[in-house]
Amino acid sequence: MRALRWFALSVGAVVFLLPFAVLVRDGVGGWSEVFSDREIPLVRSLLNSTVVAVGQTVGQVVLCALAGYGLARVPYRHASVVLYAIVATLMVPTAVTFLPSFVVVSSLGWLSDLRGLIVPGLFSALNVFLFRQYFQDFPTPLEEAGRLDGLTVWGVYWRVVVPNSRGFVAAIAVIDFIGSWNQFLWPLIIAQDSSTWTVQVALSSLLTAQNPRITLLFAAATVSILPIVLIFVVLQRYLVRGVTETGLTGQ
């Protein structure tokens, strides 16, 4: 029984690692030209992806944590209505709203514009919900100590609550960053101009081209997953926590 378990795990591990091995193997020939080739604007698109992912992560965490704290801790007559209005949008799958959001963004003139890539993704009802749950369990004595020191609610939030929530914020941020780096449909329709392509759009354009240059494409794809693999190695603790937090909301 035990041997069988180890056998299953080992076979599984080989199967799960195989695609990575293939990715690296097939890209070796393209390493020398991957950054210089003009057909795939890799440097530019990596830069765009970085700006989008960092901007979106920071923006989401700041906005959603604020809102979550307000909902959890600031008494307000209509707070439950606001919470309901926010949570209700969770019922509408994000992918169904891509078309309407496209309409709004294109009317704002934000096609082929980094603002169009970043801003609409900042308002994640899921994150607000998670932060609200987290802050509800935040130890009140800490906050009260802050109040006694003469801090306002705003002051307590920034001086006491945020510094004591680094682990949770990191967990949410890591998930947001990976989601933002890997997202595809939204940048596909917004980033028309190659100067705004994210790395996923750049890769996809070449993958669906008439005659893709395969080696180069594999090399570029390898480069594109490096930042996330790095996060995996360095921040896996937060990542696992983030996954567990986000995944359990279905309850």
Binding site: E39, S106, S112, D113, D193, Q210
Partner: protein
């Protein structure tokens, strides 16, 4: 002299408009105001990208940035035109919808006395309601390449009818060398037009007011594509129909691909190359080659339409040396202008193709044939040819969509 005057007056105009444009928000980052963005689809031939970037850099009137677009270019253009000022200039085949929604601007005033020099059918294909919206860049065509030595070995003569083609494909198929390569989708994308024409049908009726394939013969002719898909066709090639790879590397005895690949193919196979138009189904149909012409157009939402038009005029009307180079230096296309075509006389298979185009060239993508109708038809053909679906039923659905779309365009 005339050109000089033109350029000067246009510089004045462009300068004024450029100043005006500085005041308005172009809504994009990364390129300075007054820069024109010019989009091309990704040509497969080596050197085209360098050439068009060189042309853009040589333009004295404005800074031009070229964007190369691999992938689903048609969808990209459609999305970009919805509400974006980018690109200013792009190549495409005109769709009536763009005219109806005022997304492209008329370009009649750019031609001047060169109008008669352009191949008439090409201009017609970029014209809606008497106005021209695209300057044809070059003539593209597709033909059937074959290896005479392989045909001889299999005891097959170059096919003159569709049935002969089906038969030839079966007899040429040896397992390691397949009979015909017409794309990894089994010829659906590139053979739909030629199949219709071979039965004497078309996408649209002659007056453009009805679908052109409302006929039992359509089911019959797409049934032939089904027969091809059932044996002898190369599928799953690493390169697609637009690349000569499969043919050159001996994976197939015949390939349907562009004239633009002729130089690569003759370089690889020497004299062992023959060319044919797509054969006819029977005497009621025609042999054919599809004629396409990507044309230069101007986005109506461009921050500076006048500057964009001036640039198009410079590149695609005035700079005849660039036009000739663009059409002929990187793979064989035919120039869109008769005076240039005359200077680049071809010989061998190239000359035969010129004859095919003159004798049996057909417009591959009529402006009134909408994208949705085209999608419906290619879906139907795909199901018939690849899955063996009921031809009459599938075509009926496509006909309904096509009628809908035609009615919509005239509403």
């Amino acid at each position: 002299m005339g050109a000089e005057l033109n350029r000067r007056s246009f510089l004045v105009v462009a300068g004024l408009l450029g100043l005006a444009a500085c005041g308005s928000d172009t809504g994009r980052e990364g390129s300075a105001a007054g820069t024109l963005r010019h989009w091309y689809h990704a040509y497969g031939e080596d050197g085209v990208q360098d050439a068009v970037r060189r042309y853009a850099a040589a333009y004295p009137g404005a800074k031009v940035e070229v964007q190369w677009n691999p992938g689903d270019y048609d969808s990209k253009i459609v999305t970009a035109l919805q509400n974006s000022a980018v690109p200013d200039v792009f190549e495409a085949q005109l769709k009536v919808d763009w005219v109806r929604q005022k997304q492209v601007v008329p370009l009649d005033d750019l031609l001047g006395d060169t109008r008669d020099d352009f191949v008439r059918t090409l201009l017609d294909s970029q014209t809606v309601d008497g106005k021209l919206y695209g300057i044809p860049q070059a003539i593209d065509t597709q033909i059937l390449y074959y290896r005479p030595s392989l045909l001889e070995k299999a005891g097959v003569t170059p096919p003159k009818t569709l049935d002969e083609l089906v038969e030839a494909v079966k007899r040429l198929d040896t397992g390691s060398v397949r009979g015909l390569f017409a794309g990894n989708d089994g010829g659906v994308a590139v053979l739909t037009g030629p199949l219709l024409w071979s039965a004497g049908l078309d996408f649209l009726s002659r007056d453009g007011k009805a679908p052109g394939f409302d006929d039992a013969r359509a089911a019959m002719v797409f049934g032939k594509l089904r027969e091809l898909n059932q044996g002898g066709l190369l599928l799953g090639s690493p390169t697609d129909w637009s690349d000569p790879g499969a043919f050159v590397n001996g994976l197939a005895a015949m390939q349907w691909t562009g004239l633009w690949n002729l130089p690569k193919i003759t370089a690889a196979l020497g004299g062992d190359v023959g060319v044919l138009p797509f054969p006819r189904l029977d005497m009621a149909g025609d042999e054919s080659v599809p004629v396409g012409a990507y044309s230069a157009m101007v986005n109506a939402r461009s921050a500076d339409v006048a500057a964009a038009k001036a640039y198009v005029k410079w590149l695609w009307v005035e700079k005849t040396d660039y036009q000739t180079e663009f059409a002929t230096a990187f793979g064989a296309h035919l120039p869109a202008r008769q005076s240039l075509a005359a200077k680049t006389a071809q010989n061998g298979p190239g000359r035969e193709v010129v004859e095919f185009v003159t004798r049996s060239g057909r417009i591959a993508a009529p402006a009134r044939w909408s994208s949705r109708a085209n999608l419906a038809l290619s879906d139907a053909v795909s199901r018939i040819a690849r899955e063996g679906a009921d031809a009459a039923g599938e075509l009926g659905t496509a006909l309904d969509v096509a009628r809908d779309e035609i009615a919509r365009l005239d509403r």
